[in-house]
Symmetry: C2
Subunit: 257 residues, 2 copies
């Protein structure tokens, strides 16, 4: 990792020349315009000509900022990962740490709401590779995948640390699963507490269930249900996963919904 040669993300502004600032602003405007167009057209497709026209420029000018379409797409994907991670993390922090189940609700709702609000960005992250786009390498995908479930992990850590995390419904864990978890822990989170394999497994199942509902809904495959029915289905899903994962029942029932 740490490659990203063209990446000049959120570096501090120690010495930000005027030119660098306007350039960064233009890059930002390009990405925003691209997102807006994707949103309007309802696809993950993007045309340099459209973006340029929308900005009052000509298409070749964009090549001063992005080497090709793939590079712009890569930047958009990275931003989407950021967006989702921020949304989820912020939702988590809004609920007191003493209520892990409440945090799970908040995280789930944020995940679903973000996907419904920005289905194109959701598709950029979790969908099939966009035609013509090849991931720089295996890095960003798996990395961002880890970030996406980072809030989930933290949530289970907290519950475990408080001793309120029950045992999940499914406790048998494949041995390769345990070793994979061990490697993951050694590689990236050596300072964090160890997580039980069975907890990790049930966490992934929470994620899978949440993601399944979310992607089905985001892509319109649940439209045979009215929105209200989808809401109750989602709510039930969240409660169900909380139970199966051993998350404690919320002490105050009025805080539901």
């Amino acid at each position: 990792m740490t490659t990203t040669p063209s990446e000049t993300r959120e570096s501090e502004h120690p010495v930000l020349s005027r030119r660098e600032r306007t350039r960064a602003a233009t890059i930002e405007e390009i990405k925003e315009t691209a997102l807006r167009l994707m949103h309007e057209q309802g696809t993950t497709d993007l045309r340099f000509s459209d973006i340029a026209r929308e900005m009052g420029m000509t298409a070749p000018a964009l090549y001063r900022y992005f080497a090709d379409r793939d590079e712009l797409l890569t930047a958009l994907i990275a931003d989407a990962y950021d967006d989702l991670a921020v949304a989820v993390e912020e939702a988590r922090s809004q609920v007191p740490v003493e209520d892990p189940t409440g945090r799970w609700h908040a995280v789930s709702q944020a995940y679903r709401a973000w996907a419904s609000r920005e289905p194109q960005q959701f598709a950029l992250i979790f969908g099939m590779p966009v035609p013509g786009y090849v991931a720089p390498d295996a890095g960003p995908t798996t990395e961002a995948c880890r970030r996406a479930i980072g809030a989930l992990k933290a949530l289970f850590f907290e519950a475990m640390a408080q001793g309120v995390l029950g045992r999940p419904l499914i406790r048998e864990v494949g041995e390769s699963f345990a070793t994979a978890l061990q490697e993951d822990h050694d590689a990236k989170h050596a300072d964090e507490p160890v997580i039980e394999p069975e907890t990790f497994q049930s966490m992934l199942q929470c994620w899978a269930s949440l993601h399944g509902f979310t992607s089905l809904e985001a892509y319109g495959h649940l439209q045979f249900l009215p929105e209200e029915a989808r809401d109750t289905l989602f709510e039930a899903n969240v409660r169900l996963t909380a139970i199966t994962a051993g998350l404690p029942l919320p002490a105050d029932p009025s805080k539901q919904e």
Copy 2:
């Protein structure tokens, strides 16, 4: 496999002139070539020029068979729905009806295996609309969605008919959910037995969980786990959903995996 030569749908017309037969064969070859190219390139993208060259033709010739790219794409999507429905239905029928949980296992594995084997077709069905493609109308999507869960429905019907279907973990059902179910029943399956709202809800959650795992894996977002770990995670997921849905525990434990 998955070729299903000549006729999959309209076996109604036995009298086919020679011309009509060769035409149908060409259409079939076009679709197969398109699928093969998508599979080779790993995207849902397709170029008429590539298909034609692969078939020893020129691109404009394809317009004798498909009005435009969208029409070919639509045909491929319809075929993909067929393929998935057939695969799932056949897996279901391989397990005796007295074992609903076994059938759930079979259906789940077929769903997952099909998605892993044909991620492009999976993406065609369940992914974001392909750039440039607009669904003819809301019809095929929701219709095919119903077909995809047809086997699931049947499975729960059978369990219910045998009286072996327990109550799901989550029993509260939103009222709009119940009405939506009622409409669905009235509209399309008036001859089938009535399904309990809570059963329908837990069935949808089974599907969401299965779909979540499947799509995450098919798009490579679980590659941080070795294949063996994914297998055990999947197996656990299927067992978990069976329990939460009230499906009976299999009588013979040796049949597990």
